[in-house]
């Protein structure tokens, strides 16, 4: 009857093994890992003393931005964008610092849960405003950037508060081998525990569906409204983790947001997530964060003017994304 359609479907089945498919699906992330490997070698060459200590410093310093990037990924996958991530991190960070200041270690566990819950609530507010007011995502979250930043300053006017010892300890030092920083293990475990079950659930499918084609998703019976709210809640949760890691690594709460929002967008783009939604995963952006930060480190080793380094960082971002898209286009032909 329609031999052509048959053969098209069967070709896709036959010509690709599971391994080939894995590479194809995760090509961008694997490419980024390749770049990362090259960068590590370069780093070792220009700074022969770079070793476990450097790696550990790197792992700790990227922690907040890595969580911010994952948070942004959650919003972007569902065809949204969250400009309030930096402010949410500041707010959750100061709340954590205030709650844990001079309290018992046990109380800190409760505080951590409260802060994570706070993050989910902040995200739910963002998401609810987006879907129920029908104001574009970028406008709502821009407005909430100011709201959450203001709230952070209301909670704590100047940097202060404290962090529980155990919380600071989980990010510091190596695990088993000198080369494996605890911070990286923590990062991967936390992201994995939250993300992988979601990715495999019908909710996760809905998240990708809404980002990929909202109309088709709606017609397939997906609730676009609730899926979007959920994506912002997830973003809020990861932003709260980012805020907690800020408090944990610095030992205090800082009410003024860092440059995390825009850097998270940069990491999402570099991490192979389509800003149009529906494509990509959370691990690409995490690798992208490591790359961005390692480039900065290398420039410092090379004594490049920091301002010049910022310019170079921007150019590298455009360059990598351009080359990557070009390779993808070529491959799809």
């Amino acid at each position: 009857m329609s031999t052509t359609v048959d053969s098209a479907v069967e070709n896709t089945a036959a010509s690709r093994g599971i391994f080939a498919k894995f590479i194809r699906r995760n090509g961008w992330t694997l490419g980024l890992l390749g770049i990362l490997a090259v960068l590590l070698v370069v780093t070792k060459v220009i700074q022969p003393s770079y070793g476990p200590a450097g790696i550990q410093g790197l792992a700790i310093s990227i922690l907040p931005l890595a969580f911010a990037a994952v948070a942004q990924t959650c919003a972007v996958l569902a065809r949204g964008v969250d400009l309030s991530i930096g402010s949410m991190m500041a707010l959750t960070s100061v709340v954590a610092a205030v709650l844990m200041d001079e309290r018992s270690e046990g109380f800190a566990i409760l505080a951590v849960f409260c802060v994570l819950l706070l993050g989910i609530v902040l995200g739910a507010v963002n998401g609810a405003l987006v879907v129920f007011t029908r104001v574009p995502d970028i406008v709502v979250t821009l407005a909430m950037l100011f709201v959450w930043a203001g709230c952070a300053l209301l909670v704590l006017g100047t940097p202060g508060g404290g962090s529980a010892d155990w919380l600071s300890q989980v990010t510091r030092g190596p695990l088993l081998s000198d080369w494996v920083p605890k911070a990286s293990v923590l990062l991967l475990v936390v992201i994995g525990v939250i993300w992988i079950p979601i990715r495999r659930s019908r909710l996760g499918l809905s998240l990708y569906a809404v980002g990929s084609d909202p109309i088709a998703a709606f017609r397939s019976g997906v609730s676009v409204t609730w899926t979007k709210v959920f994506s912002y809640m997830l973003a809020g949760l990861f932003a709260a983790l980012g805020g907690l890691s800020l408090t944990a690594t610095t030992g205090i709460g800082t009410p003024v947001p860092g440059p995390y929002t825009l850097l998270s967008v940069a990491a999402v783009v570099l991490g192979g997530v389509s800003l149009a939604g529906g494509r990509g995963g959370v691990f690409g952006p995490v690798v992208a964060v490591v790359i961005l930060s390692l480039i900065r480190t290398d420039m410092t080793f090379l004594n490049v003017d920091t301002n010049l380094a910022t310019v170079a960082q921007g150019l590298i971002l455009v360059g990598v994304v351009m080359v990557g898209s070009f390779i993808q286009l070529r491959r799809e032909r």
Partner: protein, 521 residues
């Protein structure tokens, strides 16, 4: 009402819906019996799509009752409608491009085994569930979407223009499945513009006009097709071009120099070798099945694509367009089928008409309103565009939007008009305004090349017809000879004395497979 509730599987009574001041649906009723294939018909703007959206839960009605198996149902989302047993398949597949087929099934909680069975029956073979939806050809996706709907054994399966963009052989497959389902437990609501499909598979047809149900026709009646058209049109009677008038067409002086000459034109993809002339004052009709190279031909002529080989001559001198602006400055203008590709939907009629003559960088300064106004006004008047309120183009009806697309070129002083299926998705009234308009423009000295997917329209507007098959011209004829049957045979590249229409269709399917293959890759 209580007795009928057992007789009908789905019953919508006096459903209405208004959007602000616009009444989309006045009082629509639809009664579908179990086991029947029921056609829903209506011209554009009759309220068909609104009724479909209400039945599938996408839109809430203002008033009216919808009952499924006798009990009232309120579906507020497609998910609820789906649980209530009403599932629809649209022209554009509702599959998520970035998920694999397995995930798409999981998304709608579709059981895999029945899906595989249906996929087999639809000729899809053994589907690889881990294939990404975006990597499969569109035709397969449409069938996969149908198989997914069939797999959950819905009470009511709604096929909303599902066949409109399917290749003919796959349409046949779908119609076969619909035919098989007839007489079963569930029923089918079938929406299509093609009368032959309705006649082939449907039992009854409900006709909507201006938001109201105006009649239910038994398709088995010998005169049903005419009856449906009458109901759809209302008081307007379609006046077909009469034969005497046809013979007077194409009466140009044979010495008239051609305005547009195309010599051996080929594209990198489907267009292989096309040569023809269009003279000022004539409308040349182009006929082809889907994907025979006509899209490429128009893109090349309009300057959006560059030819692989061949030449284009305008008034005898060779031209090479690098950008649509080059073509426009030579007076060669393009009217696409999809108005959204031509118009700025969120700007006013005036701006849309004035845009083409103020886009060159040297014109980037202030807009010369006083010089622009008379041109725009005369174009609006000439085309009888309904411009009550100088509002955004997206608020106009499809027909008026298409008129704006043509008006902008009339105002700009075009000499060669390329129309690609300009009446696609336009109601019959406006169609009957557009064709005389094209003739009028030709009479005023324009050379018009018109591609149409509705064969009957060739005789309404053209002087000559050329037929393209597989990237080459296979026939050229005077309009008086170009009746639908002749064009259909030529479009399938069959000799003009070939057999009966049924066999023509069957033979054509055998021909089509190699082209499908080309499009699938």
């Amino acid at each position: 009402m209580t007795t009928s509730s057992t007789e009908y599987l789905l019953e919508a009574t006096d459903v209405s819906k208004r959007y602000g001041a616009v009444v989309a649906l006045k009082s629509a009723s639809l009664r579908v019996r179990p086991g029947e294939a029921h056609a829903l018909m209506g011209a554009n703007g009759a309220g068909k799509s609104t009724l479909v959206k209400i039945l599938t839960g996408g839109v809430r009605p203002d008033a009216g009752v919808i009952q499924v198996r006798g009990s009232e149902r309120r579906a507020h989302s497609p998910a609820e409608a789906r649980r209530g047993g009403v599932v629809s398949v649209y022209q554009e597949p509702a599959l998520i491009p970035d998920l694999d087929i397995g995930s798409n099934l999981r998304l709608t909680q579709t059981p895999v085994e029945p899906f595989r069975d249906w996929a087999q029956r639809l000729g899809l073979g053994n589907i690889d569930l881990s294939a990404m939806a975006r990597e499969l050809p569109l035709a397969s996706l449409r069938l996969i979407d149908l198989a997914r709907a069939l797999a959950i054994e819905p009470d009511v399966l709604m096929l909303d223009e599902m066949t409109a963009a399917l290749p003919a052989n796959l349409t046949e497959t779908v119609l076969g499945v619909v035919d098989e389902l007839r007489g079963g437990k569930g029923s089918i609501i079938f929406i299509s513009h093609r009368m032959t499909e309705i006649a082939a598979v449907c039992d009854r047809a409900t006709v909507l006009r201006e938001g109201e149900t105006v009649g239910v026709v038994d398709v088995a009646d010998p005169d049903s097709a005419n009856r449906i058209v009458e109901l759809m049109l209302g008081e307007i009677v379609e006046d077909l071009a009469d034969r005497d008038e046809l013979l007077t067409r194409g009466g140009l002086d044979p010495d008239t120099a051609p305005r547009l000459q195309v010599r051996g034109l080929a594209s990198a993809t489907r267009l292989r070798d096309v040569s023809f002339d269009v003279r000022p004052g004539e409308v040349v009709g182009l006929v082809a099945l889907e994907g025979q190279g006509q899209d490429e031909l128009f893109d090349i002529l309009a300057g959006s694509e560059r030819p692989a080989s061949g030449e284009i001559l305008l008034e005898g001198s060779q031209v090479s367009f690098r950008h649509p602006a080059d073509a426009i400055s030579e007076g060669v203008v393009f009217v696409p089928a999809d108005r959204a590709e031509a118009l700025l939907m969120q700007r006013s009629v005036r701006e849309n008409i004035a845009l083409p003559f103020s886009v060159r960088p040297r014109n980037w300064g202030p807009v010369p309103r006083s010089r622009e106004k008379p041109k725009v006004d005369s174009a609006i008047e000439r085309l009888q565009i309904d411009t009550r309120a100088q509002r955004e183009v997206r608020f106009l009806s499809g027909g008026n939007q298409q008129k704006v697309t043509i008006a902008r070129w009339v105002a700009g002083g075009m000499k060669t008009l390329l129309c690609f299926d300009p009446t696609r998705g336009i109601d019959i009234r406006t169609k009957h305004q557009i064709y005389p308009l094209l003739r009028e423009l030709a009479a005023a000295g324009a050379a018009v090349l018109l591609y149409t997917s509705e064969l009957s329209e060739i005789q309404l507007a053209c002087d000559r017809a050329i037929v393209i098959f597989n990237g080459e011209i296979v026939a050229e004829m005077h309009v008086a000879e170009a009746d639908e049957a002749t064009l259909l045979r030529a479009a399938h590249n069959l000799p003009s004395d070939a057999a009966l229409p049924e066999e023509v269709v069957a033979a054509a399917h055998a021909d089509e497979s190699p082209h499908d293959e080309g499009s699938a890759q």
